[in-house]
């Protein structure tokens, strides 16, 4: 199908099912941006597949008028890998939560990423188990009081972005549900990426973890507490664009522009740096010591799993010809009985 022929708008991607998330849930904003961005991509609607696990967020595919599969808890990356390998023409999106993707499904997530499986993985991080009514999750902060941790949790949280980098993901980004423009931009970038793409989306759960990200996303603090990364640009942030990030030895530091510090002293973001060291440092910047980096943290090009697999198959066909049933049966010593 030629790309020009595809003229779609938001409504084409809205399914006939009633959306059942709690009013005010951050999931709505993510759904709206996905429905806004997909028609811009020039891809026929039938070539999208949305694969999710289990959780509030994982209801997502029901609301998209595309092919969709609401699977089982934690396994969406594995299932989506099969979809992509079996039909490489599809653009495959994975919807997962912090419990789904990092707890029960942590193993599948790291392997899909390391294989550079061409999936666009949206990790809705609300730092809580929503669907099961509010237990702490692997991204909840230490000491989190929930129904299952009445005296506070005693395990250290895991962070999606450093995990994704360590898993050799070729595209890693972070954004927030409350910044639709930025969110849409990240979705576009992930859609264009060939290989494993993961976006951590800070998503507010109004019911069980309201305000989990307000230190970063609240209107009053967001300019000072987040750092919008732009490729090739110095790392500047703050309401008055007067602060920046500099590197000293192996440590990043926040500096005030002015007092003897100029833009040229600041780190310049290079999302395609082959060396992941700096992205790793960035990925570990937390509030309140640092602003939280939002944007594309790393984006590099490597052959994707299905490309290499299909190349091998092509090579085998070139060498041996297309296999026929006869070849399957006669590939050993034989003898004839008259």
């Amino acid at each position: 199908m030629s790309e020009e022929a595809v003229k779609l708008d938001r409504k084409d991607f809205v399914s006939d099912q009633d959306v059942r998330w709690c009013p005010g849930c951050g999931d709505y904003s993510i759904l709206a941006q996905v429905q806004k961005v997909l028609p811009e991509l020039g891809i026929a609607r039938e070539n999208f597949a949305f694969i999710s696990g289990i959780g509030c967020s994982s209801r997502f595919p029901y609301y998209m008028n595309t092919y969709g599969f609401h699977t089982i808890h934690g396994r969406a990356p594995a299932l989506a890998s099969g979809v992509k390998i079996a039909n490489p023409n599809l653009q495959v999106w994975v919807i997962t939560g912090d419990g789904d993707g990092l707890s029960i499904g942590g193993n599948h997530l790291i392997h899909a990423l390391r294989r550079n499986m061409d999936l666009k993985i949206l990790l809705f991080n609300n730092e809580i188990y929503g669907l099961t009514k509010g237990q702490y999750s692997p991204t909840s902060e230490m000491g989190k009081k929930t129904k299952s941790t009445p005296m506070g949790s005693v395990d250290y949280p895991i962070q999606p972005v450093p995990l994704a980098l360590a898993s050799e993901a070729t595209f890693v980004a972070r954004t927030v549900d409350t910044n639709p423009k930025h969110l849409a931009e990240m979705l576009r970038r992930a859609a264009d990426h060939k290989g494993s793409a993961i976006i951590e989306i800070y998503q507010n759960c109004v019911i069980f973890n309201d305000g989990a990200f307000k230190d970063v996303t609240d209107r009053s603090v967001r300019d000072d507490m987040s750092l919008i990364l732009e490729d090739g640009k110095p790392m500047i942030f703050g309401k008055d664009s007067d602060k920046g990030i500099r590197i000293r030895g192996t440590k990043l530091e926040v500096v005030q522009l002015g007092d003897g510090v100029s833009e040229s002293d600041l780190l310049v973001h290079n999302e395609s740096d082959p060396d992941p060291a700096l992205s790793m440092l960035l990925s570990r910047m937390h509030a309140p010591e640092y602003p939280v980096p939002l944007g594309v943290i790393r984006a590099i090009r490597r052959p994707a799993y299905h490309e290499m697999l299909l190349d091998q198959e092509e090579e085998a066909v070139q060498k041996k010809g297309v296999g026929e049933i006869r070849d399957l049966l006669m590939d050993s010593e034989t003898w004839t009985v008259q």
């Binding site: 092919y67 396994r75 099969g82 079996a86 041996k320 297309v322 026929e324 049933i325 003898w335």
Partner: protein, 590 residues
């Protein structure tokens, strides 16, 4: 030892004998040599008539060390030929095997024809000019032993020499040394007067055609790939290595020019899930494993039942529970196959009966899965998987044909209904991503009839549970009448399933030759059961169900047909001997 056994088998095959093999090896990759646990053996039975089993009691036993002698001497028939490598009967090896004195010298081996040969010494002597290191020269002793055996059975050396030449193409020194060892062994047999007898077995009379030697795993991989060629749909395998199933993954990985996609997943769960994803996307999808892997796949199989996607699941059964006997055979996963999932989760279950049958069952599993849009679980076992038999290669016209229909955009007229069923099969349409106008969502939540929309309605849930059950029951229309070995009615009917076919056939035929009123049927469709099974059982006074488990099929038959089925149950990690079946028949009819 496995290699030597395989070579002997290949020679036997090319010579035109029927045969059956039983490779038996330790779970440890390099189990300590010389210990009882480290004994690796290979049993082959061949002859000029139809062979059903690897044989009950070998006529000839070759023991390369004291441990092998200790483990296997009791298998040898009375007055059988016992060939031992006397050089391996050192003090160290004797004590590792738990012998207090040397059985070759203390007169304890009675009732066998003992041929004690200095195999190591003679091999080293023959290779004294070889540039190989001493250790590598010594390894050639297995080929020496093979040479002796090939002489004993009047077999040509060429099959093995050609094999050695290709196998070690890049190492001419090894080619030379192994061939020299082989020939020296052969000449030893010819020139010594040690053996009074040597055996000559004429080629077996078989149906005309082209034959090859095939194991169950090889046959199954080929059946799955053939299904892909028959239907024109790509084959996808999602799998995680596990003995004794890994060879299916290995085999299919060499079929890249058939555009077979093999995906070695991070675990069995991902193996099953990736296959479900591939099926959703329109591939013929299969996931292969053994019992413990099926346990992990359980939740995903529930999803396949719920979403009504075609999927083939293969369980190459081994001794369980847990890691159990990873390299040994058993039939103890029948209950798991039938019931091992949460919820009302009916699944079509098939079982292959011989190595060559695995080819046809691979095709059959996909035929049913795609026709009825449902998962199909195919049981084989370690014995079928690794055991080999001569197999008549089917002509193109003998390979089953079937078509797979994908939903077309026209189905969208008036609104696409992803759960609208074919009245004959209750199958829903297979509408794959990439098809315009058929966009739809499926998932693990209960769904309404026709639309497939999520529904928690109580009456709808019951209707859907019953529909999924009814669909599996419909598969009964695919099952051909059972073949009865023997009379159509009588005193005793032996009912078997899966890999015990050969042993049961051999045992029942021997009983019939003795004039006993016994017949047998062998079940390959375990859910649903063959439609004529109940009626056939009704024509016999007694029912015997031999199984390599504690009676899983027996219980099913009792529950389903209210018959007083008796069991013959063996859980030793080994197949039945024909004589065990025979003795049980005699006991029940005596």
């Amino acid at each position: 030892m496995q290699l030597t056994g395989t070579q002997f088998t290949n020679t036997t095959a090319v010579f035109g004998n029927d045969f059956a093999t039983l490779p038996d090896y330790p779970a440890e990759i390099r189990a300590p040599a010389g210990t009882l646990a480290g004994v690796s053996s290979f049993q082959v039975n061949f002859g000029d008539e139809r062979i059903y089993t690897p044989g009950d009691q070998p006529d000839v036993l070759v023991a390369m060390n004291p441990a092998a002698l200790k483990v296997h001497l009791h298998d040898l028939r009375d007055n059988g030929v016992l060939i031992v490598n006397e050089d391996a009967f050192t003090e160290g090896n004797l004590s590792k095997a738990g012998f207090k004195s040397n059985p070759l010298e203390d007169g304890s081996i009675k009732g066998y024809q003992l041929f004690s040969i200095p195999i190591t010494k003679m091999t080293l002597e023959a290779l004294k000019d070889s540039p190989l290191k001493n250790k590598d020269r010594e390894r050639c002793k297995n080929f020496y032993a093979l040479g002796v055996l090939l002489w004993l059975y009047h077999r040509p050396l060429t099959v093995t020499t050609e094999w050695i030449e290709t196998k070690f193409k890049k190492k001419p020194d090894l080619v030379e040394a192994n061939i020299t060892a082989l020939k020296t062994g052969y000449h030893f047999g010819e020139t010594t007067e040690m053996f009074q007898v040597s055996y000559e077995i004429a080629p077996t009379k078989r149906k005309p055609g082209t034959y090859r030697n095939i194991t169950g795993n090889e046959a199954l991989a080929r059946g799955l790939a053939a299904a892909s060629k028959i239907t024109g749909r790509p084959l996808f395998l999602g799998s995680y290595p596990i003995t004794p199933a890994s060879d299916i993954l290995h085999e299919l990985s060499t079929f890249k020019n058939f555009r077979v996609h093999t995906f070695q997943a991070e675990d069995e769960i991902a193996g099953a899930c990736s296959a479900i994803g591939a099926s959703f996307a329109g591939a013929l999808a299969v996931t292969t494993t053994s019992g413990p892997g099926i346990a992990l796949k359980g939740e995903a199989l529930g999803l396949a039942v719920m979403t009504e996607l075609p999927l083939v699941i293969i369980n190459v059964q081994r001794g369980g529970p847990s890691t159990g006997l990873p390299t040994k055979t058993e039939q103890s996963d029948l209950n798991q196959a039938l019931y091992g999932r949460h919820g009302e989760s009916p699944m079509c279950v098939l079982a292959a009966r011989s190595p060559g049958d695995c080819f046809y069952m691979g095709i059959e599993a996909f035929r049913i899965a795609t026709k009825y849009m449902c998962p199909v679980l195919l049981l084989t076992d370690g014995y079928l998987a690794n055991g080999a038999e001569p197999w008549r290669i089917p002509e193109a016209s003998e390979i089953p044909k079937f078509e797979v229909k994908m939903a077309q955009p026209e189905l969208a007229e008036g609104g696409f209904l992803p759960y609208k069923r074919d009245p004959n099969t209750l199958a829903r349409p297979w509408a794959i991503p990439g098809t315009p106008a058929l966009e739809h969502r499926i998932g693990g939540l209960e769904k309404a009839a026709d639309t497939g929309n999520v529904s928690y309605d109580p009456a709808n849930h019951e209707a859907m549970v019953r529909t999924r059950q009814a669909k599996v029951e419909k598969i009964v229309q695919e099952i051909p009448p059972l073949e009865i070995t023997g009379e159509k009615s009588g005193k005793l009917l032996v009912v078997g399933w899966g890999g015990t076919y050969g042993s049961i056939q051999a045992g029942v035929r021997r009983a019939q030759q003795k004039g006993l009123s016994v017949s047998s049927v062998h079940i390959q469709h375990l859910n649903p059961l063959p439609p004529d099974l109940g009626e056939i059982m009704g024509r016999f006074e007694k029912i015997l169900v031999p199984e390599l488990n504690l009676g899983q099929l027996r219980n099913l038959l009792r529950a389903t047909y209210l018959v007083d089925a008796q069991g013959l149950n063996k859980i030793k990690g080994l197949p039945f001997r024909a004589v065990e079946i025979l003795e049980k028949i005699e006991e029940m009819l005596g």
